[in-house]
C-alpha cells in the first residue's frame, strides 16, 4: 500500500516537474515596493447573436413579400427599406451581407477545408429561397446596398434598350470574375470593391468613398446603378426569380393596356406588350434564331480562347504572381529599391526558385479559369442574343420576372382596382346608398 502511494507521489512530482520545465518563464525582477503589474486588456468581440440576425432577415423578407404581394403598398416597402438601411447597413456595418456571402459559399465548394458559418449560409440562402417563391423581395427592401441607392433614385431616367442590355452583361462578368478569383485563390473581390460599405462602417479609403459617392450621385438619375449593372448576387436572384411562384404584378387583377405604367419603372423592368404587326416576319426571325444557335459554339469558343490568351494579364491580380514578378525584376536590376514585400520574402525560408514555381502554377490555374470565364461570358452573350430573337407574345404590361426588383413603385400608376372582399363590397354599396 505504502509503495503505491509513494509511486503515485513520485509520478505526480515528475509530472509537475515536467510541466514546470515546459513552462519556464525568465522571472520578472523582484520588486521591493510591492508593485503589481496591470492586467492585459483582451476584450472579446461583441457580435449580434446569429439567431437574432437570421430572424431579423427572415422577418424583413417575409414582411416585404407581404407588402409587395398582398398589401401592395409602396410606402410600406419604402419603410422596410429604411429599416434595412439602418439595421443591415449602419448597425451591422454591412458585413456579412448576402452579396458577399456568395463568395464564402463558392469558396467552400472549391476549398474543402474552408468552413462557412451558419449565419453566412443563412444570409446566402434566405434571399434566394424567397426569390424562388416571391420574386426579388430581397432587392426591394432588405438589401442595404439597394436601400441606400433607393434613397437616391429621385429623378430616374429611362435608358435605351441597347444600353441597358449591354450594361446588363456586367453583373455576369463580375460574377464570373468573382468565381475566377476564388478558384485561383486571389481573394474576395466583392468585398474589395463594395462601394457602399465605406459609408456603413464610416471608414474606407479615399478611392472607395469616391466610387461610392459617384455611384450614389449617378443613382439620382440612373436608378440603382450597382443593383442593375454590377451586383453579382443579383444574377443568382434573377435566375431564382425567373421561376418564382408568385411575383409582383403591376396590376392587381387584369391588365387593361391603358399604358399608364409604361414609364413608371425606374429600372426598365416592365415588359411591354408586343405590337400586332411584327417588325420582322416569322421566317426571318426563325432563320435569325437558327443562325444564332449555330453561332453559339463559335462565339463561346472565341471568348474562351480570348480568356485563355489573356490569362497572363489576369493572373497579375494574384499577389503571389505580383510578388514573383517584383522579385525577379529586382534580381535583374530593373528596380534599385526593394519593397517591404520583397524584404519579407527574402528573409523568409522560401527560395526565389520556389516562388517562381508557385507563380507559374498559379498562372496555369489562371489559364483554365480564364478560359472557363471566357466561355461563361460567351454563353451569357449568346443567351441574351437568343432571348432577344425568340418571338415572345405578350399582350399585357408585366413585370420582367428576372429584372423586376419588386420596389412597388408601379402599383400606384395602375388604375385597376383589385378584387375586393364581400364585406368591402357590401360596405361600398351601403356607402353609395347612404350618399344617394
Amino acid at each position: 500500500m505504502k509503495s503505491r502511494y509513494f509511486a503515485a507521489a513520485a509520478l505526480l512530482l515528475f509530472v509537475l516537474a515536467y510541466e514546470a520545465k515546459a513552462q519556464f518563464r525568465f522571472p520578472m525582477p523582484e520588486f521591493e515596493s510591492g508593485y503589481k503589474h496591470p492586467e492585459m486588456n483582451t476584450p472579446l468581440p461583441a457580435r449580434i447573436p446569429a439567431a437574432v440576425d437570421i430572424t431579423v432577415l427572415f422577418v424583413a423578407l417575409a414582411v416585404t413579400a407581404w407588402a409587395v404581394l398582398k398589401s401592395r403598398s409602396r410606402s410600406m416597402v419604402f419603410l422596410i427599406a429604411i429599416f434595412s438601411l439602418l439595421y443591415f447597413g449602419f448597425y451591422r456595418k454591412g458585413c456579412v451581407c448576402p452579396v458577399g456571402s456568395l463568395q464564402n459559399v463558392v469558396n467552400a465548394i472549391i476549398d474543402r477545408s474552408f468552413g462557412v458559418p451558419i449565419i453566412v449560409m443563412a444570409f446566402f440562402l434566405l434571399p434566394l429561397v424567397f426569390a424562388v417563391y416571391f420574386g426579388r423581395v430581397f432587392c426591394a427592401a432588405v438589401c442595404p446596398l439597394g436601400a441606400i441607392q433607393e434613397m437616391c433614385a429621385i429623378s430616374p431616367i429611362q435608358l435605351s434598350r441597347p444600353v441597358e442590355i449591354t450594361l446588363g452583361l456586367l453583373p455576369y462578368a463580375y460574377l464570373g470574375l468573382t468565381v475566377l478569383s476564388l478558384a485561383t485563390g486571389t481573394g474576395f473581390l466583392i468585398c474589395r470593391y463594395d462601394p457602399f460599405i465605406g459609408f456603413f462602417r464610416q471608414g474606407a479609403s479615399f478611392n472607395m468613398f469616391l466610387t461610392g459617392g459617384v455611384l450614389l450621385l449617378m443613382g439620382i438619375f440612373v436608378a440603382r446603378p450597382y443593383c442593375r449593372f454590377l451586383c453579382p448576387y443579383g444574377v443568382l436572384l434573377r435566375w431564382a426569380s425567373l421561376f418564382s411562384k408568385w411575383h409582383a404584378s403591376i396590376t392587381p387583377a387584369e391588365c387593361i393596356q391603358c399604358r399608364l405604367c409604361e414609364s413608371s419603372c425606374p429600372y426598365g423592368a416592365i415588359v411591354v406588350p408586343t405590337p400586332d404587326d411584327r417588325s420582322v416576319d416569322r421566317r426571318t426571325g426563325a432563320r435569325r434564331l437558327g443562325l444564332l444557335l449555330l453561332l453559339t459554339p463559335v462565339i463561346v469558343g472565341t471568348t474562351a480562347w480570348t480568356g485563355m490568351t489573356a490569362h497572363k494579364l489576369v493572373a497579375r491580380l494574384h499577389p503571389t504572381v505580383r510578388l514573383a514578378e517584383r522579385v525577379a525584376a529586382e534580381e535583374q536590376g530593373r528596380f534599385a529599391e526593394t519593397t517591404i514585400d520583397t524584404d519579407a520574402f527574402h528573409a523568409g525560408k522560401q527560395m526565389p526558385a520556389e516562388l517562381y514555381a508557385d507563380a507559374n502554377a498559379i498562372k496555369q490555374q489562371f489559364k483554365y479559369a480564364s478560359a472557363w470565364f471566357g466561355a461563361f461570358m460567351g454563353l451569357v452573350i449568346c443567351g441574351k442574343l437568343i432571348r432577344l430573337s425568340v418571338i415572345r407574345k405578350s399582350s399585357d404590361y408585366e413585370a420582367d420576372r428576372g429584372a423586376c426588383l419588386s420596389c412597388a413603385r408601379c402599383f400606384a400608376y395602375c388604375p385597376v382596382v383589385g378584387p375586393i372582399s364581400q364585406s368591402d363590397l357590401r360596405q361600398e354599396c351601403l356607402d353609395k346608398h347612404a350618399q344617394s
Binding site: 519556464f24 518563464r25 525568465f26 520578472m28 525582477p29 520588486f31 521591493e32 515596493s33 508593485y35 503589474h37 496591470p38 492585459m40 486588456n41 483582451t42 476584450p43 472579446l44 468581440p45 461583441a46 457580435r47 456595418k93 458585413c95 456579412v96 458577399g100 463568395q103 464564402n104 459559399v105 467552400a108 465548394i109 468552413g115 462557412v116 458559418p117 451558419i118 449560409m121 446566402f124 440562402l125 434566394l128 429561397v129 424562388v132 417563391y133 481573394g187 474576395f188 468585398c191 474589395r192 465605406g198 462602417r201 471608414g203 474606407a204 479609403s205 421561376f243 411562384k245 499577389p319 517591404i340 514585400d341 524584404d343 519579407a344 520574402f345 528573409a347 523568409g348 525560408k349
Partner: protein, 202 residues
C-alpha cells in the same frame, strides 16, 4: 383541370430546389463551426507599419499590447526612447512613439513601468520594433476585438508581407506572446551578417 399537373410540377421543383439548396448548404458548411476572428501572430510580424494604414477603420483596430511578464522594466527602454535619445525623461523629442501613447512611470530603483494608452495608439509598430531589437520583446501588436468590425476579408491580412494574419476561433481570440525557456522562439530564419574588416561600423 389540365393546368393542375403543370403547377404541381413547378411547385415540386421549387420545393426540391429549396431542399437541395438547404441540404447542400448543410453539407458545405462545417458542422459545429464556431465563429472566427482575425488575429495577428506576433512571432511572424515584421513591424512594417501596414497595420496602421491598411485597416478599414481609422484609427486602426490593431493596437500595441504589453506583456509585463516579459518586460525588463529598464530605465533605457528601447521602445520608449528614440535610439540615441539625449535624455531619458518623458520629453516628446525623446520618445519613439509618434503619438506619445507610452506612459513611463517610476516604480523603484532602477525599474520603470511602461504602459500603452490604447486611445492614442495607432498600431504603427515602431515601439514593437524598438522593443524587439533593444529589449525583451514584451511589446507587440494585436487586433483588438472591441474595435475590429470583423470584415469577411481583412484588408491588413491581405497586405501583410509576413503573412502574419490568420483566422482564429473566438475562444482564443488573442495570440499572446509566451516565452519558452526564457527566449522567444523565432519563426523566421533570420541571418545577420557581421561585417568585419575596416574597423568602421558597416
Amino acid at each position: 383541370m389540365s393546368e393542375k399537373p403543370k403547377i404541381g410540377r413547378r411547385d415540386f421543383m421549387r420545393v426540391a430546389a429549396t431542399v437541395a439548396a438547404g441540404g447542400g448548404a448543410w453539407a458545405v458548411a462545417r458542422r459545429g463551426d464556431e465563429a472566427t476572428v482575425w488575429q495577428l501572430d506576433p512571432a511572424k510580424c515584421v513591424q512594417c507599419g501596414r497595420c496602421s494604414t491598411n485597416c478599414v477603420l481609422n484609427p486602426s483596430a490593431v493596437k500595441c499590447v504589453h506583456s509585463f511578464q516579459i518586460c525588463g522594466y529598464c530605465d533605457l527602454c528601447g521602445a520608449y526612447l528614440q535610439p540615441g535619445a539625449k535624455a531619458r525623461d518623458t520629453g516628446a523629442e525623446n520618445e519613439l512613439c509618434p503619438v506619445g501613447a507610452i506612459t513611463r512611470t517610476y516604480i523603484e530603483d532602477p525599474f520603470y513601468q511602461y504602459t500603452i494608452d490604447e486611445k492614442l495608439c495607432v498600431g504603427c509598430g515602431k515601439c514593437v520594433k524598438g522593443c524587439n531589437v533593444f529589449g525583451n520583446g514584451s511589446l507587440y501588436l494585436q487586433v483588438k476585438h472591441d474595435l475590429c468590425v470583423g470584415c469577411n476579408e481583412c484588408l491588413i491580412a491581405r497586405n501583410c508581407p509576413a503573412k502574419a494574419y490568420e483566422r482564429v476561433p473566438v475562444r482564443t481570440a488573442y495570440l499572446l506572446k509566451t516565452r519558452d525557456n526564457g527566449v522567444l522562439v523565432p519563426k523566421l530564419n533570420l541571418g545577420t551578417r557581421l561585417d568585419s574588416g575596416t574597423g568602421k561600423q558597416g
